[in-house]
């Protein structure tokens, strides 16, 4: 009897509580293989590497002892007591470069799958250090990156597509043994999925509902005009689509499609039939959003999260 049939039988014959229990257990604890988490490791590691390399050219400009945002300035402007960072411990130029080099090396090892779990955890801690060093400079990309990395290092992410796996095979250990399913893989995957769905909900609702403290919300997402106001941000955009002024219907459809997609993703991604449609829609909408807003990293991070929902060859979802 298959797993699904087994659970259905329990739900029909047992009490409602028993059915809920088995559904909850199956959702969170049934073993699954680490393959897609390993794919996510490569994607997230590449994004982290991109994040660190992006700091290379202006590391001193931002975080140096005579940079634009010294530690004291950050503390004065944003006194968040629980944001921690190791960067202030290395204020001097040399120390800062050493930490930066370690961060880049850690992310590169993560991509390659060398000491995968350790380097994934280190990469996460380094990213958090950079983020907390100047939280006011972070945007939509960094929370998504820390979301993926923060969960990923719990899982055996070096079991596939990694130097670790190659090394085990070379030393005569059976790599197939590490391919077996485990509850940790399911837990980590579900954590990423649920958090992602919550994030999509936030995106959709904040577009429609405004932001706490803001009194000037003018409903541009409701009216279907918001994409136009993204298109006209001339300093950030990577493509000029102002010719769409002649096609307001396209702007309206695009705007409503973004909101519909985000709200639908939060709820309907759990439906097996709708899931491929939503993942495909994401593959179209995110690159377009990235090009229009200039936030390529953010768009790529959201695309990477699709991997957490992809069906794997062992049938896990």
């Amino acid at each position: 009897m298959s797993q699904r049939e087994n659970v259905t039988t329990v739900s029909r014959t047992g009490t409602v509580g028993e059915g809920t229990d088995s559904g909850w257990d199956r959702f969170w604890f049934s073993p699954s293989k680490p393959r897609r988490l390993c794919q996510l490791r490569i994607a997230a590691g590449t994004l982290a590497l991109w994040f660190f390399l992006g700091h290379t050219f202006d590391l001193q400009d931002w975080f140096g002892p005579r940079g634009m945002l010294p530690t004291d300035t950050v503390k004065s402007l944003r006194p968040d007591p629980y944001r921690w960072s190791i960067l202030p411990l290395f204020q001097e130029s040399g120390g800062l470069w050493v930490v930066h080099g370690m961060a880049v090396f850690s992310a590169a090892c993560m991509v390659l799958g060398l000491f995968s779990r350790t380097t994934t955890m280190l990469t996460w801690l380094f990213v958090l250090s950079y983020v907390h060093r100047a939280p006011m400079l972070t945007g939509t990309f960094e929370p998504v990156l820390t979301l993926i990395l923060g969960y990923l290092w719990f899982a055996p992410v070096g079991n596939c597509y990694s130097v670790d796996r190659w090394w085990r095979a070379r030393r005569g250990r059976d790599p197939q043994r590490s391919d077996g399913g485990s509850t940790v893989c399911t837990l980590v995957c579900r954590l990423i999925q649920v958090h992602t769905a919550m994030l999509y909900g936030l995106m959709g609702l904040s577009k429609l509902g405004g932001v706490a403290g803001s009194t000037s919300y003018d409903g541009s997402w409701w009216r279907g005009e918001a994409v136009w106001w993204l298109i006209t941000r001339s300093e950030s955009r990577l493509i000029d689509l102002t010719m769409l002024h002649a096609y307001p219907l396209v702007v309206n459809v695009w705007t409503h499609a973004i909101v519909a997609f985000e709200l639908a993703f939060a709820v309907l991604i759990w439906n097996r039939r709708v899931r491929p449609l939503l993942l495909t829609a994401g593959c179209i909408l995110w690159p377009l959003t990235g090009l229009v807003t200039g936030s390529l990293s953010y768009a790529l991070a959201m695309l990477s999260l699709n991997l957490a929902f992809a069906r794997t060859d062992d049938g896990a979802e």
């Binding site: 300035t73 004065s76 400079l137 960094e142 929370p143 979301l147 003018d218 941000r233 955009r237 990293s297």
Partner: protein, 257 residues
Amino acid sequence: MQDPVNKLPSPAVRTTISVVLFVHFFSVFVAIYGGISPGRDGDQNLKERLRGVVSPYSQALNFETTARYYLTHATAEDAEYRIEYLPEGADAADSRQWKILTVGRPGTDSFHRQQRLAEILGGFGDTQNDDGAAILVASLGDALHAASGTEVAQIRCFRHLLQDQQDVRGSSAERRNPDDQSFFVEVYRAQLKRLRSGKLLVRRVGEAGQEAPVTGSDAGAGAGAGAGADGASDPTEGNITPPPSASEVDGRRGASP
């Protein structure tokens, strides 16, 4: 087929993990949904208190975010901002002598960080938060001095207004050009003067074209003392054009249809 139910962890472990999952996702929920409106005053208080409770966890792990996941609400704050600085000895009246603060290229994270910095300064200018602006401008002045070896005489921040569809359809060539001067509104301007102590004196230029003393600007890194401290004089007085009034700024917000 093997029944995967048999491979589940023990009930005690599952129960413990389930409780941890609930606490975790409750914290995440409060952290990320706490910033969404609408809500009455009472609701906001509740949100803030809940956020405060979970903040050690959500801040430390960066779940709590104020990032603009809505992308735009077509308000004044959703326009773009630009910081310009004037090296010492340059003519403030000559726009070619002002240099644009540029970090990174469009599409890169560096560029977005620089944009957010400009946005923060613009926000301080809009809300008349002179203390915050003085702290930031003093740091900028120090950094620019360290990078170029030249003192900065003035720093200003512009809001880059957005083009309406009518503008692009276009009556005139100026309105079709998004970089035309008419799309820039100055929201903040300050004069900087190096004191004998090595600190920077930051003075916001008030709406009437007069210097506005910056209160509490000793706070933070390198922010100068109040106006007139250390006998500092204003080398560029008389060359400064007053920024537009608040109503003028609001009236030109790019996103109003």
